[in-house]
């Protein structure tokens, strides 16, 4: 089946393209990118003015909750949420029930993803069996089954020794270790960023140093082992400083920041809704200086990836006292509007860089196909609408869970359509009927 | 705004009431004066002074705040809450004849509340009601025993009593609009 997407603005940073180009899709792959391509029997779609075609967005930090926590999300609902958010692929975390530390669980996830047939799913396996932090998981088996990285996300790798071994071992398979950086004794039973707002509300604090200590540990071990180390959901300025210095020294470290950490601060704990459990996540929303450090790192290239840490929780689980609520918010359907509105339209970064953060770099870090519109690459394309007014409505999210602090926010920039392997899996009917898409 | 009673008139009226009290009760043996806040209080004090001038005896005097006994509490969804002030009755009311003093008698609800409050303090031998102005329009079967002036009014008028101790002048004024 041949499709010709004609006349849209194509932004493909990996190939240095930014301009009006046609894209010919054939057999699920990108056949050609060029100007005035002949129709030659293809279905023609004239791309409306103002839209941008880019390599499909990839969210490398998503909790799909299946197996075991299907009341929060399933692979089917999670991938539906992903494509509505403009993502053609997601990497899913292993802290399911049971933990993804075996080929069995990995295969289940992949089977569900194939059945849903929406976004591509790349499982990330566990570092240790059961994520208990004692014995290494069968990492080779995980890789063979389809995992692209390992992590004990939810908590840090239990000991420095175990992290060292994981880096060495996974390095053999070319897989990065993704780390939830944290010192458990400094975290204690904290629930919010240690600062003025937590003090004011009587919430136990988690200092920024708690995360940064974990980052420092990781970069030193990455240096020792020569393996690839990826800092998950970074939030503290001390962490940014550590990553910057490590990169200058040539250490193989990469890092990601979630949209809530470059948008919100701990002020959200008290306002507009005091003790809103949709402002509770780990790492927590931090003070303005940390949020600004994240923006700075995004602008100056220290940050490699924007990843949402999409963490669905059932409404009942979040409708409790702040201490008791689980950490996490959903993010797949708010990432693009927040990135456009707070990064591109605010002048922090150009559009090209946003696409690097959301597509080119995640593909590179995980060594997965995608991130480019090169000829022969899978036809994973996101059609963006940079000037679309978007109103976030929690009730209308396609995710099974609606735990977002952004309900009611008016933002500029959204998703027009999402194409995976040449097939249109999501269309925003308001923008164009997607005729023929 | 017509002045219905000037300072002079008020003074003479209170003097007359003081004499009536002494006459009707045949002396002041077991009497006590209790003024209903706010303006009933200075009126009660003045009456006590007059009675002392007449008989040479001290009549115990107290102040009663009836806010917590009002029947219209909690019924207004909006609007300022009446402010609660201290009640001071530094004597036992058991077995006494209590002379309740208020500035204006209107619907009678304030007096009803004052009666309830007093009964919670003890068991008086009798309660008599003294008012400076009776403006009619009773909603409860309440009658004053001593009236300074009977003043027929329309419902859309209001009676304002001003006293030196609170308002820096003595006068009773009839105003259009509002409730008093």
């Amino acid at each position: 089946m041949k499709k010709l997407l004609r006349g849209g603005r194509v932004v493909d940073p990996a190939n240095g393209l930014d301009g009006a180009f046609d894209i010919l899709i054939d057999g699920g792959l990108i056949a050609r990118v060029g100007r005035d391509l002949p129709v030659d029997g293809a279905t023609v779609v004239d791309v409306p003015a103002g839209l941008v075609l880019c390599p499909g967005l990839i969210d490398m930090h998503v909790h799909l909750r299946e197996p075991g926590q299907e009341h929060k999300e399933t692979v089917a609902t999670g991938t539906a949420s992903a494509v509505a958010g403009g993502f053609t692929a997601v990497a899913c975390m292993p802290n399911t029930s049971p933990v993804n530390d075996s080929a069995t669980v990995t295969s289940l996830i992949l089977a569900k993803a194939a059945a849903a047939n929406l976004a591509r799913v790349y499982p990330i396996g566990a570092v240790s069996k059961g994520s208990k932090g004692e014995l290494l998981a069968d990492i080779g088996e995980l890789k063979a089954a389809g995992c692209v990285a390992i992590t004990d996300d939810g908590h840090p790798t239990a000991t420095a020794l175990l992290l060292r071994r994981a880096l060495e071992y996974a390095g053999m398979f070319g897989m990065p270790v993704v780390e939830h950086c944290e010192d458990p004794t400094l975290k204690g039973d904290g629930v919010a960023h240690e600062g003025f707002h937590a003090s004011r509300l009587g919430l136990r604090g988690i200092p920024g140093a708690c995360e940064s200590l974990g980052v420092e540990r990781g970069v030193l071990l990455a240096e020792l082992t020569g393996s690839a180390f990826h800092v998950a959901h970074m939030s503290a300025r001390g962490s940014m400083r550590a990553v910057r210095k490590a990169k200058e020294a040539g250490v193989r470290v990469t890092c990601e920041v979630a949209p809530h950490h470059f948008t919100l601060t701990d002020e959200a704990l008290g306002s507009p809704v005091p003790y809103d459990t949709n402002t509770k996540m780990n790492p927590p929303l931090r003070e303005a200086a940390d949020r600004d450090a994240m923006l700075q790192g995004i602008a100056d290239g220290t940050v490699d990836v924007i990843a949402t840490d999409h963490a669905p929780h059932h409404y009942d689980e979040k409708k409790v006292e702040f201490d008791r609520a689980p950490f996490g918010i959903v993010g797949l359907e708010t990432a693009v509007p927040l990135s456009f509105d707070r990064l591109v339209h605010s002048g922090v970064i150009p559009l090209r860089r946003m696409i690097e953060l959301l597509s080119v770099n995640p593909a590179r870090v995980l060594h997965i196909p995608g991130g480019t519109l090169s000829e022969g690459a899978p036809a994973d394309i996101t059609v963006l609408a940079p000037d679309l007014p978007v109103r976030i409505e929690a009730a209308k999210l396609r995710s099974r869970s609606k735990n977002t602090p952004f309900d009611g926010w008016q933002l500029r920039g959204g998703v027009a359509a999402t194409i995976v392997g040449g097939r249109t899996v999501f269309v925003n009917e308001e923008i164009f009927a997607g005729a023929g898409l | 705004m017509p002045v219905v009673m000037d300072a002079d008139r008020i003074g003479r009226t209170l003097a007359r009431i003081a004499h009536e009290i002494v006459e009707r009760n045949k002396g002041v043996d077991d009497l006590a004066l209790v003024g209903v806040r706010s303006r009933g209080v200075p009126l009660a004090r003045r009456l006590a002074r007059s009675i002392k001038d007449i008989t040479g005896d001290d009549v115990p005097t107290g102040a009663l705040d009836i806010t917590l006994y009002r029947d219209d509490l909690m019924r207004h969804a909006v609007g300022p809450q009446p402010v609660v002030r201290r009640t001071e009755i530094p004597f036992s009311i058991d077995g006494r004849k209590i002379l309740l003093v208020d500035d204006v008698l209107y619907t009678g609800r304030t007096t009803r509340a004052a009666l309830d409050a007093l009964i919670d303090f003890g068991r008086p031998k009798a309660i008599q009601l003294i008012v400076l102005v009776d403006r009619g329009h009773r909603e409860l079967p309440i009658k004053a025993d001593y009236v300074g002036k009977n003043l027929p009014t329309a419902l859309d008028e209001s009676v304002q009593v001003r006293l030196q101790e609170i308002d820096d002048r003595d006068e009773v004024v009839l105003e259009q609009g509002g409730a008093a």
Binding site: G202, Y275, R324 | L68, M74, V78, V84, R86, E165
Partner: protein, 324 residues
Amino acid sequence: MNVQELDTRPAVTSLRRKDLLGIADLSPEEIALVLDTAVAMKEVGSRPIKKVPALRGKTVVNLFFEPSTRTRTSFEIAEKRLSADTLSVAIGTSSVVKGETLADTALNLEAMSPDMIVLRHFSSGACHLLSRICRSSIVNAGDGTNEHPTQALLDALTIRERKGRLRGLKVGIIGDLLHSRVLRSNIHLLTKMGAEVWVCGPPTLIPAEIARFGVRVTSDVHEAVADADVVMLLRIQLERMEGAYFPSLREYFQVFGMTEARLRLAKPDVMIMHPGPMNRGVEIASEVADGPYSVILDQVANGVAVRMAVLYLLAGGAEHEEAA
């Protein structure tokens, strides 16, 4: 003290709110209103019949997730003096183990249409949660380490009775600042009313950025006590040693304990306040505890009066918004 005879109108005459969640939400005028109303309420407790019909027919539920005889009985007495119908529910740990959430417990109660719920809970923000889901007025009787507003109000009443004012007084608060909800409420109230507040404790027990609350911070107890009009001592929980906050109770007493010698640095008519019960030899030396400065019994009587004032002011005259 200063009994108002004249009909002077106070700056505000009602608490225009559905709940009392904390002192943080109150203006200085509202605080003054509560204190003035409490003075009038205190008189009710001195009558032979200690009852007024102001809350007749209203139902108040005392929902206590943390045990507390003192605060609970104080609220109960206050409610009964206002002629309200009261119901006290003490949630044992077994209910929590059964898994019923706070929200569900409260909604079950709502079925009985209580007019007010007085809540004490171990989680900060529990009252804010109930306020969002219940139509009833919520009164915070202590939530986690957030606030204990009626305690601060009764402390303020006690101070105002002795000293005639709050503005310009130096108040030193010493102890476990980090885990104290009484501290936070007192800081809010005293700073709003113009007092000079000093907080003192080991650095390990000082909340982050507390200076931004408008208080002076020190770990030197002499600084905190120097020329103080009021000294408030917060309880040291014996378990805190396990969190490595300080090495031992003995050492805490050496460095921070209120002794005669230290108290002499304060003003001669200094007041000592303590939410009780006291740990002698930890926060306070025995001879000081038994000395003439302490005002604990006044605090108990004022507690009932302040709670009556709060219940009365919340129950009527406020615009009750629909619960979300």
